[in-house]
Amino acid sequence: MPAPGSRAEAQPTVAAPCSPTLFLHAASLTITSLRSAALAATSRRWRMELFQSADVVLAVGTSLSYYVGGGHYFAKACTIQVDDAPRGLRDGQKAADIYVKSDALVGVEAILVGLDKVLGSGQTDPRWDPHEGAGTSHRDRARRFDAVRD
């Protein structure tokens, strides 16, 4: 039985299911301010942990090039790519496991309709707590995650 507040007790909290998280990747954008760079640095560790613990990645409207992971960020995850020009082999590595060739909006709507059918209309899988992290910034969530980790 782990002691209250110990690392051993904290681990299950880290491993617990979390809400789906949206990242708008900025791999090709220019970082225009120190503020952006500082935020990126703060949340990087948290982001990497999250990527590595993911079991499914739904990648929408991204080519999944080497710079967006190309498998090495989320090697264990099943990657679903929704893109109008998917390529199986991208920058010398497998881009995704499932390719949904589609306009991003139409593809996501089709997936949502499919999820509605299996989960119930407008329902969220109870394992995906939609309120987890609500009202907090990514920076706060990163701090909290790091606090649990450390």
């Binding site: 990527f51 990645v57 679903i80």
Partner: protein, 221 residues
């Protein structure tokens, strides 16, 4: 009667270019000046050719508009070898107006074969050497840039830029030639497979790229 470089500038404007990032030299000075004098456009002068393309890249990322840069021939163009691959890998719609050495000169010390340099970066190169077809070259450049989403360098010998523009035909933009295919719909079988995977997921992540914005994503009501 106007000069060809003026018609070229107006063609860029018709294609939706409202901002140019430029470093002037003899190969692009006439065009850059003509474009800068057009109504509603902005000219941003940079101190290195690399910056012209890098700034145009950022401009597209920030605004979604077609990116345009301008550099001179030879040594000017050769400075793009770092910024152009980045734009090509990011699949950016960009047109770079580049001068070329005068095609009718016996010798020109800035001459280099520009096409292999540009294509080595992953960008497309159009050597516009036909005066009667000059605006067709512009249209093709924008069509490739917008439709295939890749940077295009339009190389025009600067002695040809200064000839009289005799055509009185209005410029037809590349948009006229886009195939109207509508939004691409997914295969229901593949969608069902994706849904099954998502349903079974314990720690799903949604990763959104620029295609999300192009598809018209917005905040939920």
């Amino acid at each position: 009667m106007s000069k060809l470089y003026e018609a070229l500038a107006e063609a860029f404007l018709a294609e939706g270019v409202d901002t140019q990032f430029a470093l002037m030299g003899d190969g692009n000075m006439h065009w850059t000046t003509a474009f800068a004098h057009l109504p509603g456009v902005q000219t941003i002068h940079v101190r290195h050719e690399h910056c012209a393309v890098a700034a145009a890249t950022a401009y597209h990322s920030a605004t979604g508009k077609i990116a345009a840069a301008s550099v001179t021939c030879g040594p000017g163009l050769s400075q793009l070898m770092t910024a152009l691959p980045a734009a090509a890998r990011a699949r950016l719609p960009m047109v770079v107006f580049a001068g070329e050495a005068p095609i009718n000169a016996k010798f020109y010390n800035q001459y280099i074969d520009q096409a292999p340099l540009v294509t080595a970066t992953g960008a497309h190169y159009i050597a516009a050497h036909s005066v009667p077809r000059m605006l067709d070259h512009v249209r093709e450049a924008f069509h490739i840039a917008k439709y295939e989403r890749r940077p295009v360098v339009l190389g025009i010998p600067y002695d040809l830029q200064k000839v009289e523009h005799t055509s009185n035909q209005p410029y037809e933009t590349s948009a006229i030639y886009y195939p109207k295919v509508g939004r691409i719909h997914p295969d229901p079988v593949i969608v069902a497979e994706a849904v099954e995977r998502l349903k079974a997921a314990k720690r799903p992540i949604i990763l959104g790229g620029r295609g999300v914005l192009r598809a018209g994503a917005r905040k939920p009501c």
